[in-house]
Symmetry: C2
Subunit: 299 residues, 2 copies
C-alpha cells in the first residue's frame, strides 16, 4: 500500500526542508539567524493567519533578548524559526484555531503543526526531568540540555504514538463517543501506545479495554502528525468475530455498530460540514475522517 | 496484512493483563500490593534470570520504605510490580543482558521490556520538566504528578516512534552501518519520527538525509517495542528509482546495495549466529532481522 499517494492528510504534506545537518552546526545556525530569517507569528500556541497565509516577522527585528527560537527549516532557501512562548502565556488553543487554520495550504498547515508541537514542548520542558535544574535550548531547538554540571542530560522533543482503529464486523463499523464530543458525534476508538507493546498489540488492548471485543487481523492504513500537543496518529483496521459490546463507561459514553449505509450518509454530511445530526462523523482535519472514507471506498 | 500472524517479534507477544482499570483506582492498587503480589528482581535495568525465567520476590518482603514500584499488570491473577531503581544505581545495560534474555520465553521477554522502559522513565523523571519541582508516582506508575502546588503537571511514560526501513531498487536492498556497529555489520536505515511528520514522511526524510535518495511507495510491514530506552520501531519498505548514493558520513560509516543472493547468504549466517563475516546482518532480537527475512521470503 502506498499511503502517501492514496490520502490527503491534514498536518502531513509539509515541503519545508528540515535541514537536519544545520541544527548541530553552531556556525550554520548563527549564519541562518543573522541572515534574512523569518520568525513565525504566534498568539500563544495559535497561528496568526493573514489573507489565508501564516504571518511572519523578520527574525532580526522580532526576536528580543533571551527569547528562545526553534529552527523549523528552510523554505525557498530562507531560514524559518518559531518563538518559544513564556510558560505563563501558553494558551491551550482558543476557539479561533480551526477557522484560522482551515484557510491554510496543506504545506503551511504542516509547518504550523510542527511548530506548535515544538514550541509547546520547549515551553513545558524548561527544567531537567532527571535532576530539576534549568535546561537550555540546543541544536536549533531539536534538543534541550540540562545546565546542571553533574547531570548534563539531553532531552528530545516528544512524539507520542497513538493507535486509532476502525473495527469491522461483517459489513458494520464500530464507532464510539467520549463525553466531551459534541452531541451525536462518533469517531474511531483510539489510545496511546504503551511501553512494551507493538502497534498491533496496542490496537487489540484498546479495543478490548473499551468495548470488550477481541480483534484479529490488525492492519495499518495511514498515519497523521497531530499537534495537540504532539501525537503520531497510527490509523489501523481490525476485525471482530462477534458484535457483543461491553462498554467501559469511564472511557466512552457510548459505542455502537453502524451499517455501511448509515456510515455513508453521515460521512457525506460531514463533507458538507453538517454537524448537528443524530449521528455525525469527524470532519476533514481528523484522521478518522480519512480512515472512514477509505473504508467506504473499499469494495 | 495481518502482522501479528506473520511475525514472531522479540519484546512483543506479552500475555500480561495490563489491567488498566486498576491503575487509577487507589483501593484496587492498595489491595493488589497487600496481597500475594510479586516484585521483579532487577540488577540496575538488567533482569535477573534464574533457570531461564525472570526472578521475582514477594512484594511485601522486598519493597522497603519509600521505594517506588510500578504496576506491570496481572499474571495468572497475581499482581506484578517492578521497583524503580535509585537514579545513581541506573546501569546502562551491561554485556550480560543479551545472554540472559536469550533464555526467556517471548512472554517474559515482553514483560521485561515493558518493565525496563517504565522503570527507566521513572528514574529519569523524578522532577517536573515544566517547573523543576519533584514529581511523585501516580496511577500505579503509569503517570507522575508534579508536587508543586502552582503546577501539578501530569507526565506520562514516553514511547518514541522510530522508522526503520528497507529500501529496494530493482532486486537489491540498501543497508548501512553506523561506526558503532561491529565490523562488517550492516542493517536497515532508521531514525526517529519528528513532530509534524507522518510515518511515510519520516521514512522519506531519513533516507534522503542519510543516503541522498528520494523514495516512493512507502509501506508498513511490522512494528516492535524496543526498550532501549523506550522506542516503538515501525518497520517499512520503500522503493528507490535509482541507486546513486550520497552518504552522510556524520550518520553512517557506509551504505551499500546488496543483491538478493548476498542478503540471503548473510541472513542464513545470522540465523546460525555467525557474526564475524565481511558482511553480517542483525540477529533475531532486532526488527531489522525480521524485515529482511520478510523481504527474502517474498516472490
Amino acid at each position: 500500500m502506498s499511503a502517501g499517494a492514496m490520502f490527503d492528510i491534514p498536518f502531513a504534506g509539509g515541503t519545508t526542508d528540515r535541514a537536519d545537518h544545520m541544527r548541530g552546526d553552531p556556525r550554520a545556525m548563527a549564519e541562518a539567524m543573522a541572515g534574512d530569517a523569518l520568525l513565525l507569528c504566534l498568539d500563544g500556541l495559535n497561528p496568526i493567519v493573514e489573507g489565508g497565509r501564516l504571518a511572519w516577522d523578520r527574525l532580526e527585528s522580532a526576536a528580543r533578548g533571551d527569547v528562545e527560537v526553534v529552527f523549523l527549516g528552510l523554505r525557498e532557501g530562507r531560514a524559518c524559526f518559531a518563538p518559544v512562548p513564556a510558560s505563563g502565556s501558553l494558551s491551550p488553543g482558543s476557539g479561533r484555531l480551526w477557522p484560522a487554520v482551515a484557510a491554510l495550504s496543506a504545506d503551511e498547515l504542516a509547518l504550523y503543526g510542527a511548530a506548535r508541537s515544538l514550541v509547546n514542548w520547549h515551553a513545558r520542558h524548561r527544567f531537567c526531568a532527571a535532576c530539576g535544574y534549568p535546561t537550555a535550548l540546543a541544536k536549533g531547538g531539536w534538543q534541550r540540555d540540562c545546565t546542571g554540571e553533574a547531570c548534563r542530560a539531553q532531552h528530545f522533543p516528544r512524539v507520542d504514538p497513538v493507535t486509532i482503529m476502525l473495527v469491522q464486523h461483517e459489513d458494520m463499523l464500530l464507532l464510539g463517543r467520549q463525553p466531551r464530543f459534541p452531541a451525536g458525534s462518533y469517531s474511531a476508538l483510539a489510545g496511546f501506545v504503551e511501553p512494551g507493546e507493538s502497534i498491533e498489540e496496542a490496537v487489540a488492548r484498546e479495543v478490548l479495554e473499551e468495548v470488550g471485543i477481541r480483534v484479529r487481523d490488525v492492519s495499518y492504513i495511514v498515519s497523521q502528525p497531530w499537534p495537540f500537543p504532539s501525537s503520531l496518529m497510527i490509523g489501523c483496521l481490525a476485525h471482530a468475530d462477534h458484535s457483543e459490546l461491553t462498554i467501559d463507561r469511564t472511557e466512552l459514553e457510548d459505542a455502537r455498530w453502524f451499517t455501511r449505509g448509515e456510515v455513508a450518509e453521515a460521512f457525506a454530511a460531514a463533507i458538507r460540514g453538517e454537524r448537528d445530526r443524530e449521528f455525525s462523523l469527524p470532519g476533514h482535519q481528523a484522521i478518522a475522517h480519512h480512515l472512514i472514507g477509505w473504508w467506504l471506498d473499499r469494495a
